[in-house]
Amino acid sequence: MLEVDLVQQLPGFTLDVRFQAPTGVTVLFGGSGAGKTTVVNAVAGLHRPESGRVALHDRVLFDLERGIWLPPHRRRIGYIFQEGRLFPHLNVRQNLLFGRWFAPKGAARDDFDRIIAMLGIAPLLERRPTGLSGGEKQRVAIGRALLSAPDMILADEPLAALDAARKEEILPYFERLRDEVKIPVLYVSHSAAEVARLATSVVVLKDGRVQRQGSAAEVLGDAQVMPTGVRAAGALLEARLLRHHPDGLSELSAGGISLFLPQVPQAPGCLLRLRILAQDVILSRQKPEGLSALNILPAEVENIRSGSGPGAMVSLKTDAGRVLARITRRSAQALELAPGSHCYAVVKSVAIARSDVSGSAAAAP
């Protein structure tokens, strides 16, 4: 468990954050300039905040009142940087083993071979970092951080410098990190898709303050706190894969409701995260018939929020979980939608985009 409580004056605003990161991936989520990197650098010890306290498990890393400030090399925090920061004068193996030199003798050492296998970097061991692709560099950087026997991992937008294909290459490794490594991971991101895929819990940072902390589904389903605008707002549903149909569709069950996706590679029985963007949901008061969309969820309106523009964000309760729909205010009036009214959420198949389906390769038909 990481406990963070920091105050720092930054140009234009004051960073004042308090949150906790348990075992699992906590995504520090916010737009650029929200102070995310300042927070992780303070946790790592690369930047000394004006006041506050940082504690990891039972170790106090920083406490202004008690005059405690551990230098970065004594914090035992593995840091995965945005740009990898591999040492150019060492080969991949030497980069990976760098932290092991300095790890305390008694520290639990992760098995070198296991991590090499987990990251698939065995063929790269004798190569120099300069010859590696962006995705390979990031995998080595992940391994280097893990092999320093850290008490926690920090990752500062580790995918931001990569193109979409490389992101797809790296994301599964972070999922394995979340599922296989039993230490807290604080992961900085401004991407709702990464939150949807990786987060155990989310801390939303806005203008230097924690706006919301909660589970990924809670935060992503709340349009009010989305730091990256309404386009990225959407719901996160957990669904179990039921069966594959011969016509190329996979059937999933989310809270008893069947959802159909283009075939996913996983075996039936496994749990998937589905992301449904608010702008890809259509509402209907009657049960729609003669419609090409396959996924229709009976819903009850929770609330309707409209801003200054023509749009309105409708939050819906369904058996599958909370779903968001972004419609126009005019439609909301025409349909006479109000909290408590019943309707149907029509999810356009195209909404279930490839990068938004956790661990799957589904594409729109």
């Binding site: 790592a44 010890g45 690369l46 230098p71 970065p72 090399h73 004594r74 914090r75 035992r76 925090i77 593995g78 840091y79 940087f81 740009e83 920061r85 040492f87 150019p88 004068h89 760098f98 932290g99 030199w101 300095f102 790890a103 120099r128 970092p129 300069t130 280097r144 951080a145 320093s148």
Partner: protein
């Protein structure tokens, strides 16, 4: 090198000895000064920078005379050092001191440039992996600035081989003691019929200078290949 007379050979050997000692012994201090100037902020930084560069811009005769005033047998520093057996005046060690001081600015400049080219983010990364400041320097900074250290060392060596004004002012021109290669060339040119000996030494000077340059290029290229550069 039988085509060199004994006196000429003596000058060449002395110059090599003086230059090697001058460049090797100042290397740690040069790295330290370069690091301080490149990375640290401290009061008097400009003063230190000025002091380091002073020998580069002062007339060498002035530097030599100042050395004589500070380290000469009559001075307080000189006689104190004499008590513990260190004598600079009119000794080859004095020639090495003069050469070291004259080459120091060149050495510091080359190393400082290479330190400024090291990305501090790599050093931060090393710190998060558990390396203390000392180990960050040894395991990351030092290997990355190796080409600069080589370049600085060889520049200082070449400068020491050619140093004349400060040396002759400080330790005079005593054959076998303080007569370095440039001093010997100067002495031969003062003698009637000394031109051929002077020319031979000029040839040696050119060969040594070119050799040092080629060596530094080869070493620097090898080092920068090793650290993943061009």
């Amino acid at each position: 090198m039988s085509w060199l007379g004994p006196e000429e050979w003596q000058a060449v050997a002395l110059s090599l000895k003086v230059s090697i000692w001058a460049s090797l012994l100042t290397l740690p201090l040069g790295i330290f000064a370069a690091y301080a100037l490149a990375r640290w902020h401290f009061p008097g930084k400009h003063l230190l920078n000025g002091l380091v560069h002073l020998p580069l811009i002062l007339p060498p005769v002035v530097t030599g005379y100042l050395l004589l005033l500070i380290f000469g047998p009559q001075s307080a520093v000189g006689s104190a050092l004499q008590q513990i057996g260190i004598v600079f005046a009119f000794q080859w060690t004095g020639a090495a001191l003069a050469a070291a001081i004259m080459g120091f600015p060149l050495m510091v400049r080359a190393i400082r440039l290479s330190i400024e080219a090291v990305d501090p983010k790599l050093e931060e990364a090393a710190a998060t992996l558990g390396a203390s400041r000392f180990w960050v320097f040894v395991s990351v900074t030092l290997p990355l600035i190796l080409p600069g250290i080589l370049a600085g060392g060889i520049l200082a060596f070449a400068k020491a081989m050619g140093e004349f004004g400060a040396t002759i002012t400080f330790v005079s021109n005593i054959p076998g003691q303080t007569q370095t290669l440039p001093s010997a060339i100067y002495a031969f040119l003062q003698q009637p019929g000394g031109e051929s000996a002077a020319l031979r030494l000029v040839a040696v000077s050119i060969v040594v200078a070119m050799g040092a340059l080629v060596l530094s290029e080869v070493l620097a290229r090898r080092a920068s290949k090793r650290i993943g550069g061009a």
